[in-house]
């Protein structure tokens, strides 16, 4: 689970500061897809950046809670140093970018395996488990026949599927997804959204998904609407589905 608690983020703009996120509080629960929507410039991507520890908020807490063995471990990501935040992303957070952002020199399978090497050679020793999970995930996203292809040999939808698999290969507690369908047609977009929802429910990930396109809102378990950096509504349905 990831909780943003009274988070505020400002950016410098000439002599003054612009408030991008204004005292936002929201929660993405384990095993659910929490959508964040709003018009362009509303601050939804900034919320995602704060949740991903890619930027430190001016104030507020970003608490990631997950099971670590038998204990429940909670960490305030907003209070971490840069190195600690990097390690947190490497171990507990998965990110799917707006564009797939795959590395052009790596095959589909290697895009996942690279996650075992991000922390250097010591992390690389854990690669055996990652190899097994990588094969499982490539199978789960329906691309087992494309594992040895490079990004240029894959379609946009296939690239995004690999990006989703990459974000999950290290078994993160939190999955952060930024406009995953923006570069896809409606059919492929629906398939990607459905895949994200399926993997979230199966793997018990707390997924926070930013989208400005509510065509696929059926895949969301709850929806937070943001305008001018503020949460204006936070709607969750009883059974985890929002009416289409």
């Amino acid at each position: 689970m990831i909780t943003l608690d009274d988070v505020t983020l400002t950016f410098p703009d000439g002599d003054r500061r612009v408030t991008a996120v204004d005292h936002v509080s929201l929660t993405a629960r384990t095993g659910e897809v929490t959508g964040i929507t709003g018009p362009s410039g509303s601050g939804k991507s900034s919320i995602l950046a704060v949740a991903a520890t890619l930027i430190q908020p001016d104030s507020g807490r970003v608490v990631i809670t997950g099971a670590r063995g038998d204990a429940v471990d909670a960490v305030d990501a907003a209070a971490l140093s840069r190195d600690e935040a990097t390690a947190l992303r490497r171990e507990r957070v998965g990110i799917v970018f707006q564009q797939s952002n795959l590395l052009p020199s790596l095959t589909a399978r290697e895009q996942l395996l690279v996650m075992a090497h991000l922390g250097g050679p010591r992390a690389g020793r854990r690669s055996a488990a990652v190899r097994d999970r990588a094969d499982d995930l490539i199978d789960a996203v329906g691309l087992s026949g494309h594992a040895n292809k490079r990004p240029a040999q894959l379609s946009g939808g296939q690239r995004q599927r690999i990006a989703i698999a990459r974000a999950l290969v290290h078994e993160p507690e939190v999955l952060l997804v930024d406009e995953p369908t923006s570069a896809l047609d409606q059919e492929r977009g629906a398939a990607i959204m459905s895949l994200i929802a399926q993997l979230t429910h199966e793997r018990g990930t707390a997924t926070m998904l930013v989208t400005h396109d509510l065509v696929h809102r059926g895949a969301l378990d709850s929806l937070v609407t943001v305008v001018d950096g503020r949460v204006v509504s936070d709607t969750a349905t009883g059974d985890g589905r929002i009416a289409a």
């Binding site: 950046a49 991903a52 890619l54 707006q98 564009q99 952002n101 690279v114 991000l118 990459r166 930024d178």
Partner: protein, 378 residues
């Protein structure tokens, strides 16, 4: 089969993926290595042809006349009786070997056939003193070439080859004929092969050539107060290597070649640095994504440097192999010195400078902001 466990996971795959670009930069590195190595070999060869006889002289230091203004010079130096005695009687001096050096011409046989330029070295034979470091018997040692009789000469291999003579053959120098007593190894002075004579024979030859017959250098052994004795005798005493600066041709020749080598080292660092800077800038987006995914800056720096090291090692390896091959081929036709000094040392310097150049590109890696991975259109 993927190479799991390597610390250059992405870099290794980049090398394969963009092999055309890396082959290109590797070829440039190999070519620069070839140029540097060849120049170093040529410099070493030319230096050997210039100074090997000076380096082979006996003694701990070489003493030259100190002119009232300017630097000592092998060509201008004359050591008079007073200075010679001054050194011989100085406290701490074990041995003084007067050496005469003058450029002359020699012909084979009794006639005045085609003359060959030689460096006439006059010094007592090795039986009377040891060479530097006690290596008087080593081939090429000028002291071991020196004959014991005034009507004999000792020839270096180059002089014997140029004159086309062997032991027992006559050689004529300035109208006087000598018998070849021995033929030794290589010994060169100012690009002419060495011909060794006794001190008396050399004095006579020097006078016939217009000189005063006095020795030009003293090879001094011992541990005197070098500066004090040198000042008192109006001479300068320096190590064998240090004395080479008194050889004008060596200074200008080696200086020019060393400058070219230094410039090539600079070019090498610049080329490698420029390549990796452009390459890393092109990868800036990937670097930002990797950081966003959790890659530590340290691992990315290691990745980038590992990539540069692979390219440098391969390029330098190919270039050095070419230097060794071409050097072996050129050895007979050119003054080329093939040794670790002219192959391994330039190779190591190239690798170090190349890595330094590649390190410039690391700023792009360390400065990449993972936030740019969000919303980037790549």
């Amino acid at each position: 089969m993927t190479r799991e466990g390597t610390i250059v996971f992405v870099a290794w795959r980049d090398l394969r993926f963009a092999r055309g670009r890396f082959v290109l930069i590797g070829s440039v590195v190999a070519l620069i290595t070839l140029l540097v190595g060849f120049l170093a070999g040529l410099t070493g060869g030319l230096a050997a042809q210039n100074v090997s006889a000076v380096l082979d002289l006996p003694g701990d230091r070489l003493v030259l006349q100190q002119p009232s203004d300017g630097q000592p010079s092998f060509g201008e130096s004359t050591i008079g009786q007073e200075a010679r005695v001054g050194w011989q009687t100085a406290a701490g001096v074990d041995e003084v070997v007067p050496v005469g050096i003058v450029q002359g011409r020699a012909t084979s046989g009794h006639d005045d056939g085609s003359a060959v330029g030689v460096a006439l070295f006059g010094l007592a034979s090795a039986g009377g003193h040891g060479g530097r470091g006690g290596s008087a018997d080593a081939r090429g040692s000028v002291a071991s070439l020196a004959p014991t009789r005034d009507d004999e000469v000792g020839l270096s291999a180059g002089a014997a080859a140029d004159l086309g003579v062997d032991v027992g053959d006559p050689v004529t120098i300035t109208g006087t004929t000598y018998r070849v007593a021995s033929v030794g190894g290589d010994a060169w002075y100012s690009h002419t092969p060495v011909l060794a004579m006794t001190p008396d024979a050399w004095s006579a030859a020097d006078r016939r050539l217009g000189g005063d017959g006095d020795p030009t250098v003293l090879a001094v052994s011992g541990s005197p107060d070098w500066d004090a004795v040198a000042t008192a005798t109006h001479t300068s005493a320096s190590s064998h290597l240090g004395s080479l600066t008194a050889l004008e041709t060596f200074r200008s020749e080696v200086g020019s070649l060393a400058l070219m080598i230094a410039m090539l080292f600079g070019v090498s660092a610049l080329v490698v640095g420029a390549f990796f800077t452009v390459w890393t800038m092109q990868r800036a987006g990937d670097v930002a994504v990797l950081k966003a995914l959790g890659a530590s800056t340290r691992s990315l720096v290691r990745d980038a440097l590992g990539q540069a090291l692979v390219v440098l090692v391969v390029g330098i390896g190919v270039g050095t192999a070419a230097v060794v091959g071409l050097g072996a081929l050129a050895g007979g036709a050119l003054p080329f010195l093939l040794s670790p000094l002219t192959t391994l040392v330039p190779a190591i310097a190239m690798a170090a400078l190349g890595l330094a150049g590649a390190a410039v590109a690391l700023r792009t890696v360390t400065a990449a902001d993972p936030l740019t991975a969000l919303g980037s259109n790549r």
